[in-house]
C-alpha cells in the first residue's frame, strides 16, 4: 500500500555540502595518510634518527589539517558559532566525535613538528634567551613521551581518515554515500594522497634524494595502495549495481554526465592512469626523472581530490 502515496519534493537545494567539504575531506586524508605512512616506515625500519621523510610528513600533516579546518569552519553559515559544538556535545553525532578526535589530533601533529623541527625553532628563538629556555624545558619533558606520542599519532591519524568516511556514510538518503565501504575507501585514498605529498615535500624542501631508501620504500608501497583503492571503488560500484532499485538508479553517476567525466578522467585517468603510465609505460629513463616523480605525485593527489569531489557531488545528487 505504500506505493499509493509519495512525495518527491524536497526543501534542500541539490548539493548542500559542496566543494569546501570535499577539499576538507582531501586535506584530512592527506594529513592522516602522510603521518601514518611516515611513522609506519619508521617503526618498520626501526629508525631512531629524524629522517627527512618524517620531517616532511609531520609538516604536511600539521599544515593540511590546520588548513582543512579553515575550509570546514568556513563552510558553516555561522562560522563564529563553531564553539557551540564544543559546549553542546552530542555523542551520537559523528561530527561531534570527529571534532573531539581533531582536537586531540591537531596537538599531536603539532608536537610531532616540535620534535622534528627542534633545531630550526631553537635557531629562531636564539635571540630571545628566555623564550628559548622555556622551549628547551618543554622539549625535555616532551621527549620523554615521544614513543607514546608517535603511537598515538598513528592511531588518531587512522581515526581522522576513517571518521571523514563515517561522517557522510551515515546519510541514508544517498545510496552512493550510505555504504560500509566508504570509510575504508577514505582511509586508503588518504594513504595514497598522503604518501605522494610526504614524498614530494621530503624531496623538494628537505632535499631527500628521489632514490633514497625511504622514498624507494614509499614508491614500492604506492602501487599496492592504489590497487586496494581501485578494488574498493569497484566494490562500491558493484554493490550499487546489484542493490535495490534506488541503489541501481545511482549507477548512472558512473555512466554519463559531468560526474561520470569527473570519475573517468579525474579519478581513473589522472589519479591512477597517469602515475602508472609515467612509471611503467615510458621506459626507465622517464620513470626515474625528476619531472616524472613530481608529476606522478601531483596526479595522485589530484586524483584523490577528484574522488572526494565525485563522492560528495554525485553522492548528494543521486538521492532516494
Amino acid at each position: 500500500m505504500n506505493g499509493a502515496i509519495n512525495f518527491t519534493y524536497g526543501f534542500s537545494h541539490g548539493v548542500e555540502w559542496g566543494w569546501p567539504i570535499a577539499v576538507y575531506l582531501l586535506l584530512a586524508g592527506i594529513s592522516g595518510g602522510a603521518l601514518i605512512i611516515a611513522l609506519l616506515v619508521r617503526f618498520y625500519k626501526k629508525q631512531h634518527e629524524d629522517t627527512s621523510l618524517l620531517k616532511a610528513a609531520s609538516l604536511v600533516s600539521f599544515s593540511t589539517i590546520a588548513f582543512g579546518m579553515v575550509f570546514l569552519v568556513g563552510d558553516l553559515e555561522k562560522p563564529l558559532y563553531f564553539w557551540k559544538i564544543l559546549i553542546n556535545y552530542n555523542f551520537a553525532s559523528v561530527m561531534s566525535i570527529g571534532v573531539m578526535a581533531i582536537s586531540v589530533y591537531i596537538p599531536l601533529t603539532l608536537v610531532m613538528c616540535l620534535y622534528l623541527f627542534e633545531k630550526e625553532i631553537s635557531a629562531v628563538l636564539a635571540k630571545k634567551a628566555q623564550l628559548l629556555g622555556y622551549f628547551e624545558m618543554v622539549m625535555v619533558l616532551l621527549k620523554k613521551i615521544r614513543p607514546m606520542i608517535e603511537v598515538l599519532s598513528v592511531i588518531f591519524a587512522v581515526i581522522i581518515c576513517a571518521y571523514t568516511g563515517f561522517l557522510i556514510s551515515v546519510l541514508v538518503r544517498f545510496p552512493i554515500l550510505n555504504t560500509a565501504i566508504l570509510p575504508a575507501l577514505f582511509v586508503v585514498s588518504g594513504l595514497s594522497a598522503g604518501t605522494a605529498s610526504a614524498g614530494m615535500v621530503a624531496s623538494y624542501f628537505f632535499k631527500e634524494d628521489a632514490h633514497s631508501p625511504d622514498l624507494k620504500t614509499l614508491h614500492t608501497i604506492e602501487w599496492p595502495i592504489m590497487a586496494v583503492e581501485i578494488m574498493l571503488i569497484a566494490m562500491l560500484f558493484v554493490s550499487l549495481l546489484v542493490g535495490n532499485e534506488f541503489q541501481q538508479s545511482t549507477t548512472i553517476a558512473f555512466k554519463s554526465g559531468i560526474y561520470a567525466n569527473l570519475f573517468w578522467f579525474g579519478v581513473m585517468g589522472v589519479g591512477f592512469g597517469l602515475p602508472l603510465v609515467l612509471n611503467f609505460a615510458l621506459g626507465k629513463h622517464v620513470a626515474h626523472s625528476h619531472a616524472a616523480f613530481y608529476l606522478s605525485g601531483m596526479a595522485s593527489v589530484a586524483g584523490v581530490l577528484c574522488l572526494r569531489m565525485f563522492i560528495i557531488y554525485a553522492g548528494q545528487t543521486f538521492g532516494v
Binding site: 500500500m1 505504500n2 499509493a4 502515496i5 509519495n6 512525495f7 518527491t8 519534493y9 524536497g10 526543501f11 534542500s12 548542500e16 555540502w17 563552510d75 558553516l76 553559515e77 555561522k78 562560522p79 558559532y81 563553531f82 557551540k84 559544538i85 559546549i87 553542546n88 556535545y89 552530542n90 551520537a92 553525532s93 559523528v94 561530527m95 561531534s96 571534532v99 557522510i168 551515515v170 546519510l171 541514508v172 538518503r173 544517498f174 548528494q316 538521492g319 532516494v320
Partner: protein, 223 residues
C-alpha cells in the same frame, strides 16, 4: 540527566547564566513525565479531502515567520498526467520521526527533541548551520532559514500556536479538514479514532525512522 546537571554547573562557572534558563524547564518536564504518560504528537493528512488550496502553507509561513521563498510545509501536486481530472496532493513537511536522524547527527544539539512534548524542534541560537541535519534527514524537509541562519523544520507550531494552546496553523486553516492533529498516546483522541477506522500509511517507512505523520491515500475501489 546527570550530564545535564554537570553542563549547567559548568555553564554557570562560565557566567553564562542565561543559557541555563533553557535547560531549567527541561528537568522539570522530565520529573512531571514520571507521573503522566508522555504525549506522542502526530498528524494525519487525508489525501481524499485535500483540494490543494495551499491555505495551510500560507498560514504556516505567517504564524512561524518563515521568510519569503521558504517553507516548512509544502503541498505537492501529484496529479498523474494521464488522469488530469483525478487531482492528488501530498503534504511535504517534517515527518516527526521517533528515531530522528536529524537529532542524532546535530553536533550542537540545536536540533533536538522537546522534553515535554517529544516534538523534534530546534533552538536557532545553538545552530551553527553546518547542514548536517539537512543531509541526514531522509525526507529532505529541513532548510536553513534565511533570517535566523539556523536549520528549521515543521515542529507542529510548538513555539507559536501550541504555546498558546491552539492547534498547528495548518490544521486551523484547512477548510476541508484534511489535516488532523493529536496525541497518538491518548487512546481517546480524535486522531486515534480516525486511525482505527481508516487505512493510513507512513511515508517511506523503509528508512526505519518511525515517522509520526500518517497519510490516508486516495484509493479507488472500482464500484
Amino acid at each position: 540527566m546527570k550530564n545535564d546537571g554537570k553542563r549547567r554547573a559548568f555553564l554557570k562557572v562560565l557566567g553564562l547564566g542565561s543559557v541555563t534558563l533553557g535547560t531549567a524547564g527541561y528537568s522539570v518536564a522530565i520529573e512531571a513525565g514520571k507521573t503522566e504518560k508522555k504525549p506522542h504528537y502526530g498528524m494525519i493528512f487525508d489525501q481524499n479531502k485535500c483540494v490543494g488550496c495551499s491555505d495551510c502553507e500560507v498560514a504556516c509561513r505567517k504564524v512561524n515567520e518563515v521568510p519569503q521563498g521558504q517553507v516548512r510545509l509544502y503541498v505537492e501536486n501529484k496529479t498523474a498526467p494521464e488522469t488530469p481530472m483525478e487531482k492528488k496532493y501530498v503534504r511535504v513537511s517534517c515527518q516527526q520521526c521517533e528515531d530522528a536522524p536529524c537529532v542524532a547527527v546535530c553536533p550542537s544539539k540545536a536540533c533536538h527533541r522537546d522534553a515535554k512534548t517529544g516534538i523534534v524542534t530546534m533552538n536557532p541560537d545553538d545552530c551553527i548551520a553546518c547542514k548536517y541535519c539537512i543531509v541526514a534527514c531522509p525526507y529532505d524537509v529541513r532548510f536553513i532559514n534565511h533570517k535566523t541562519k539556523a536549520a528549521e523544520n515543521c515542529n507542529f507550531c510548538l513555539n507559536t500556536n501550541m504555546a498558546k494552546g491552539k492547534e498547528p496553523a495548518c490544521v486551523e486553516s484547512c477548510k476541508y479538514k484534511a489535516l488532523v492533529f493529536g496525541d497518538l498516546n491518548d487512546e481517546n483522541s480524535y486522531i486515534n479514532q480516525i486511525l482505527q477506522v481508516k487505512d493510513a500509511v507512513r511515508m517511506k517507512p523503509t528508512f526505519g525512522t518511525k515517522p509520526s505523520l500518517r497519510y490516508i491515500p486516495v484509493v479507488k475501489v472500482g464500484v
